[in-house]
Symmetry: C2
Subunit: 433 residues, 2 copies
């Protein structure tokens, strides 16, 4: 028995480490095209910002650690050219062939800039690897860039905008769609816009970027461009090997993270999962899901029968100190799924006023037919992560608004108000059901 | 139709306000023995500490507000001597009688000091009302007290100890039982002790206080004593009227908050509720539950059929900046309930180290027979409230450890780590199931 993992970082290394823990003697090879196999990709914006001073701070484990401490053969700079499943063989670009009994595909996702003319210019960057961050930092220092355009108002886009603004640049974010943060939610986008504008970052939605000029993008003058759009799963290698691709464009896997090819698993940003609110396949590439699906794929590749049930789409991002968190479906997304959404949006204090509470906005979305909670957002400076996680837990268990309204949540003035904003929102929502 | 509410503050005023909202014309009378009907009792320790400067900051609404804005007849200083249910009549100590059709008993709880000799001395206090806090503050200012004893290491006891220490006093907390914070949990108590001792507050458990001398309590010299023990539901008035009392000593009510007497409801600290983990009646007097049961009693008193399903026992307290939060059952409590508890306690970072994460301790308790999560604690400086609330939501929906382990929780470096401490604890616990 031998296990080969294609792709390191979150999913691949979680899978390899889990397999090793469950099987101390199995030969495990990880093939990583880059130079690092275990770093916090989500920390890159803070490296750009300067809060994280050195790239090394973001490295969780070195390849040497995995080799020596975990007995995992980690090969960096190893680019896989093809998977020949009938022969249970992986071919590297170097021509080398490696045999496997079980295969885990953890090839991740990429920022596809091919549709944008001029994206190869030296002042145009993406922010996906430690190397990207290092190059961008060097550019900032050496070229004294003053005006930046960020393409894409997803999570990374707004984090990059925040980081560049804190470095003193004038920043414009151009978003192709109508909304920020990948959520079809005009009020959420309006709140993002307010915080960005309060820090003099401009957000323009409905602007499709096809080309980048030397000194401007879509009429916005700039001397630096960061592309944070066009994310795609790296599913081509798998597809060519006969692995089924789902409607989302990512690799289809069952709830054991196994693909249509027996013994071939997929995990992380290259794979679909199930959206637990809609019951349908979804592609929401996030580090948390990559780690979880990696663990499950790793366990099952060595004979386990673990399940990854799916996700509810929980996200959070900090923009100039305000958290924007979302989970489940927005009203518009719920309508598009054929549900009958009702929602309530309230503003309340995150803790008692006399204890320095700050304003928090909570929106809850329910399905009128079933009375079930199906989504929510939390915006605020205090406690947003915990509150969105409570909604997420409720979505996992298909909680109704009536049940949610009676949750026994913690109360003490230094932390929370006696009526938590979540419960106030639930009370408002319950009036509409 | 007329509604009489015995007792203002959290439960009583929530009930009266809810009844008014649902029935704009019903005569509603609230009989409150004190002078205030709507204030944050949980804010009293912060008034003592000095963070809250004036008692007025803790007042949510004045009696005048309820009279004028809500058309609720609020009578302060109105002591109820007896309830004559066959005549649907309440008798005041003044001799006056008031007729009702529906009655809500919201008489709260008290700190019963009658078993402690010497509790009437001028240097001995409780902290239950705004007036208590004002008297204690005046004493601190005028007498220049230097050494305090706090009797009871429950939530209020440790909050008072914290507040007095911040006022420069030397403080000893004496607890009759083996554990602090009302939780049968040695590790939780040890953590409380560590934080108290780091701030030079002494905690002595297993010390029963029968008497208070002029200059000492149980060999501890002191010139100020605060009693935060001996809490009892104010159920005598109800019992004398024929209202059934539960085994906890509080008023028994069904999940509509109705007592055995038709048309007589109970809410707040005087009433039992159902513990949703054990399915048994419980008495956990807290402001959150008082508000919720008050709302339900108020709605049902005017013809509604709302349900209050019960509580899971969620609590949080801040001690010198560290949150101690608990919900559900401890291992010892679970054993006492006849369950087969297994638990895992982990220490992890509340957010990534490179983003200034602080240590957080999470313990999760599960029932081996069913695999269900049945309790947990969270200790830490960041994010404890949100994390305990996620556990609480899981308890409400009888989530298994396997399900909990796969929760789609929010991740972004300014707020949380990629593996939330909750999930790390669940992984550890799952190995034992």
């Amino acid at each position: 028995m031998a296990l080969v993992v294609v792709g390191g970082v979150a999913a691949g290394m979680s899978a390899a480490a889990r397999a090793r823990r469950l099987d101390p003697h199995l030969p495990i090879v990880v093939l990583e095209k880059g130079v690092s196999v275990s770093y916090s990709a989500c920390g890159l914006p803070y490296l750009l910002e300067g809060r994280v001073r050195e790239p090394e701070e973001l490295i969780v484990h070195t390849p040497e650690y995995f080799r020596k401490e975990r007995k995992i053969e980690v090969r960096t700079g190893a680019r896989v050219a093809a998977i020949a499943h009938p022969r249970r063989e992986v071919a590297l670009e170097s021509g080398e062939r490696i045999k496997y009994d079980r295969l885990i595909i953890a090839t991740g996702a990429r920022c596809d800039t091919s549709a944008i003319a001029g994206s190869g210019q030296p002042h145009v960057f993406t922010l996906h690897t430690l190397d990207d961050a290092a190059r961008l930092r060097a550019f900032l220092r050496e070229r004294e860039a003053r005006r930046a355009v960020v393409v894409g108002a997803g999570y990374i886009g707004v984090e990059v905008a925040d980081a560049l603004r804190r470095n003193g640049l004038r920043v414009t974010v151009l978003e192709r769609g109508a909304d920020a943060l990948l959520r079809d939610d005009a009020a959420f986008t309006a709140a993002v816009r307010r915080v960005l504008e309060a820090h003099r970052v401009e957000l323009r939605c409905g602007v499709k970027v096809d080309a980048i000029d030397a000194d401007r993008v879509a009429d916005v003058p700039c001397d630096l461009v960061v592309i944070a759009a066009g994310f795609k799963p790296n599913a081509e290698l798998a597809a060519e090997a006969g692995v089924a691709i789902g409607r989302t464009g990512a690799i289809a896997a069952d709830d054991h993270m196994e693909t249509n090819l027996r013994g071939v698993f997929a995990a992380g940003d290259c794979a679909e999962t199930t959206h637990l609110v809609t019951g349908r396949p979804t592609w929401i590439p996030l580090g948390t899901t990559a780690n979880k699906t990696g663990r499950v794929a790793g366990a099952n590749a060595v004979g386990g029968r673990e399940r990854f049930p799916g996700v509810v789409g929980t996200c959070i991002v900090g923009i100039f100190g305000t958290a924007f968190a979302a989970t489940g479906l927005s009203v518009a997304q719920a309508r598009a799924e054929g549900l009958s959404p009702v929602s309530a949006r309230i503003e309340a204090f995150s803790r008692p006023r006399y204890y320095g509470g700050a304003a928090t906005t909570v929106e809850l979305v329910a399905d009128r037919t079933t009375g079930r909670l199906i989504g929510g957002t939390v915006i605020g400076e205090q406690g947003a992560a915990g509150r969105i996680d409570v909604i997420a837990a409720a979505l996992h268990k298909r909680m109704t608004v009536d049940e949610f309204e009676q949750l026994d949540l913690a109360y003490s003035p230094p932390f929370t108000p006696v009526w938590d904003p979540l419960l106030i929102a639930a009370q408002q929502l319950s009036k509409q059901l």
